[in-house]
């Protein structure tokens, strides 16, 4: 057997092994992800309710109806507003935390842990913590403010500002962003700061001209990920619902319009109204919005994100 034949046989063996190792994942991906996705899309082209009765193909009717449904369009809008606010709050707060904790201060490790800790708590638990914290009569915040004489009577924070109440969670969960920024800051060569300092650059100019450009890929990553996750926010409006929630009312008592996010409304439409195909159409449009947003991020990210990779010509 020639050397070339042996090499070819080895290559083929490697390739076969590679695909065999991948096979379980490919099968899982096809059956558990691709199939439901395609099935979901096909269902969105029918009039199917939660019950498969009198099902027929309706083409793009559900999609066209979506764009005439003011309530649904409102949900896309509030999701978008929440996404922008949540992303900015998360990234800016995380960056400020990281700047503070990037210095050699005593107790740095302790504060890093404390600030990251809330991110490890499940969203449902965080929601309940804040529901109790912000409650008008029994909430910790109102009790403290009233004891200090700042307030005469409690403020119904959740009812007065449902969106604000949900956005407070973004501050609390900025630990994820902080950890990424801490990693990012450690990649910036210290010599650059030293050189700039010798040249007379102050702290602000060092941040603007050295730190921010060099950590821009990390900022970009966080913006994209935060956008994708925030557009799909679901449970927060249900738990921080200004209306009373008890037992199974949690998911049947709808949130107010100003926080009825797309995912939350789609869930309600599918489960409480049993409009299965319409809810799925809503989710497909959400997917398209998220995809479009991500493409735009990637397209325009090139103008300001620093990279050492050479541009292909």
């Amino acid at each position: 057997m020639s050397t070339a034949t042996t090499r070819f046989s080895l290559e083929r063996h490697k390739r076969t092994s590679f695909y065999l190792f991948l096979l379980p994942w490919i099968i899982g991906f096809l059956f558990m992800q691709v199939t439901p996705i395609i099935w979901g899309f096909l269902i969105s082209l029918t009039n199917r309710s939660a019950f498969p009765i009198a099902v027929r193909f309706v083409g793009l009717k559900n999609y066209l109806e979506l764009f005439r449904d003011k309530a649904v369009l409102g949900s896309y809008w509030v999701s978008f507003v929440y996404t922008i606010a949540n992303t900015l709050i998360g990234v800016i707060t995380g960056f400020l935390f990281a700047l503070m904790l990037d210095r050699n201060l005593p107790g740095r490790g302790f504060f890093r842990t404390i600030l990251y800790f809330p991110y490890m708590i499940p969203m449902v638990a965080v929601g309940w913590i804040f529901r109790i914290f912000l409650e008008r009569d029994t909430g910790f915040l109102n009790i403290v403010l009233m004891r200090l004489g700042i307030l005469e009577s409690g403020i119904p924070f959740i009812q007065q500002s449902p969106m604000g109440s949900i956005l407070i969670l973004s501050f609390w969960q900025a630990g994820w962003s902080m950890i990424i920024f801490l990693g990012a800051l450690s990649t910036v060569p210290r010599e650059l700061y030293e050189v700039a300092t010798i040249d007379g650059a102050g702290y602000g100019r060092r941040v603007r001209h050295i730190m921010l450009p060099l950590i821009s890929p990390f900022i970009f990553f966080q913006l994209v990920m935060s956008f994708i996750y925030a557009m799909q926010a679901f449970i927060q409006p249900y738990i921080l619902n200004p209306r009373p929630i008890r037992g199974n009312w949690l998911m049947t008592n709808t949130p107010p319009e100003e926080t009825f996010f797309v995912m939350s409304r789609a869930y309600y439409i599918i489960t409480s109204q049993n409009k299965f195909s319409y809810g799925l159409a809503m989710l497909w449009v959400l997917f398209a919005v998220v995809l479009l947003g991500t493409i735009l991020f990637v397209k325009f990210g090139g103008f300001w994100v620093y990279t050492e990779a050479e541009e292909r010509k």
Binding site: I53, P156, P242, P244, Q273
Partner: protein
């Protein structure tokens, strides 16, 4: 090689066929029962399973109709299902979810047809058009006069108001006036004590009673496809919206810390309309006998027609495609009329579905005696809630919430509120009809 492959294939097929035909299940059959822990406590499940080690094992599943519908689409929902409102039978029956239990009832020695309390179980019998006729799809686990009044006597005394009669109903207008007098605000205008509260969405049921008392329908047609927009019916919706708009009931501007029952127990609400069952919860409060009073469901006109309802009564139905109907019915019997059914009756959380169990209801003190007497009296005037068969009960609250909040915030007028609410309901009903191809 080909012969070997053929042999292997044959052996495989033969093995699979042998496995498939190995006879029925050995050991106990599992009956999945969708219910809350409160309605099916683990201790009772364990007791049942111990008493039936070789026949049936109950496995409780969490109450979740969204999950049930998805499971039903796949043909494997829980065998027994706790149904929040019996009137939802009209919605689920044409969708093929429910099993007709009439043949089982006819054969049962535990649930005898003439022992079923028709006053509180009518919603579980449905002929496709009307409740109380045709096949039986389940039974209420217990039923309640949800319009009955429970009030805080101390608050009434403090406000200089006379105690309510236990036999003569007050009117809904009187209820409104009482709530006005009992609602307290602090200097900043924040409500500290509400005059009145009720279960979430229960105004829909009480509005139905009020319409029935006046001989009105909530719909314009017999198939209940279009909401009635006549002034008299609009006035009923306005009556309930006014509670929210005027802050006599917890609303979005003056929220209460919890739901009606908990707020009442913590002296934040003076009157609640929750019904007989709520007395069992109040019995955990010290001094409940002296502190709380009972009154029958109000009427529209003083001394006029009385109509009350059970909200459809929470009950149990069987999944149409259950693979173990006989075993599931055994559990159903145990739950309704067997040891657990009897024990439940003794706790006084609701009037039992079988007439023979009614004497078991507690009446050791004046509090229990009063609530029982009122419940059994109110029951004489039960009429099924005017549910629309095209939408589930859970859909009503969603249609109400948005417009009522706009009204409370002063963004729309009362008439605009009614217009928006009825328009939302009509849209939901039209969608529900379309789902059935109608």
């Amino acid at each position: 090689m080909k012969a070997l492959m053929r042999t292997l294939l044959l052996v495989t097929v033969a093995s699979l066929l042998a496995l498939a035909g190995c006879g029925g299940p050995k050991g106990p059959v599992t009956v999945k029962f969708m219910s809350s822990d409160a309605d099916l406590p683990a201790a009772w499940v364990e007791m049942f399973n111990k008493e039936n080690p070789d026949q049936i094992t109950i496995v409780r599943t969490e109450p979740d109709w969204a999950k049930t519908i998805a499971e039903a689409a796949a043909g494997n929902a829980s065998d027994l299902l706790n149904m929040g409102q019996g009137t939802d039978i009209a919605y689920y029956q044409p969708r093929g979810i429910l099993k007709d239990l009439t043949p089982y009832f006819k054969k049962s020695k535990v649930i005898k047809m003439d022992d079923i309390d028709l006053l509180g179980n009518r919603e579980y019998q449905y002929d496709g058009k009307e409740f109380g006729k045709g096949p039986w799809y389940g039974l209420s686990k217990d039923y309640n006069n949800i319009g009955a009044i429970t009030y805080n006597k101390e608050m009434f005394a403090a406000a200089g108001l006379p105690m309510l009669s236990e036999t003569e109903p007050i009117t809904y207008d009187e209820l409104y006036e009482l709530a006005q007098k009992l609602t307290k605000k602090d200097k900043s205008g924040t409500v500290t004590t509400w005059g009145y509260d009720l279960g979430s969405g229960w105004w829909n049921f009480l509005a139905s009673d009020m319409a029935a008392m006046q001989g009105l329908s909530l719909y314009t047609d017999a198939t209940r496809s279009v909401m009635n927009n006549d002034p008299a019916v609009r006035d009923i919706w306005k009556y309930w919206a006014r509670w929210f708009a005027e802050g006599l009931i917890p609303n979005v501007l003056n929220p209460a810390p919890s739901w009606a029952g908990a707020n009442f127990q913590s002296d934040r609400v003076a009157i609640v309309q929750l019904g007989y069952w709520y007395g069992a919860q109040l019995r955990t409060n010290p001094g409940f006998e002296a502190k709380y009073g009972w009154a029958p469901t109000p009427t529209v006109v003083k001394g006029g027609v009385r109509v009350t309802d059970t909200l459809g009564a929470t009950g149990v139905v069987m999944y149409a495609k259950t693979k173990v109907p006989d075993q599931a019915f055994k559990v159903f019997e145990w739950y309704m009329g067997g040891a657990y059914g009897q024990e439940r009756a003794k706790t006084g959380w609701g009037i039992p579905p079988l007439k023979s169990l009614i004497p078991l209801l507690p009446e050791e003190n004046s509090f229990d005696k009063a609530r029982k007497a009122i419940a059994l009296d109110d029951a004489k005037y039960f009429q099924p809630w005017q549910a629309s068969p095209w939408i589930p009960a859970s859909a009503w609250t969603g249609a109400w919430n948005g417009p009522v909040e706009s009204l409370t915030k002063g963004q729309i007028t009362m008439d605009q509120f009614v217009d928006e609410y009825l328009a939302s309901m009509n849209k939901l009903i039209a969608d529900g009809k379309a789902q059935l191809g109608q």
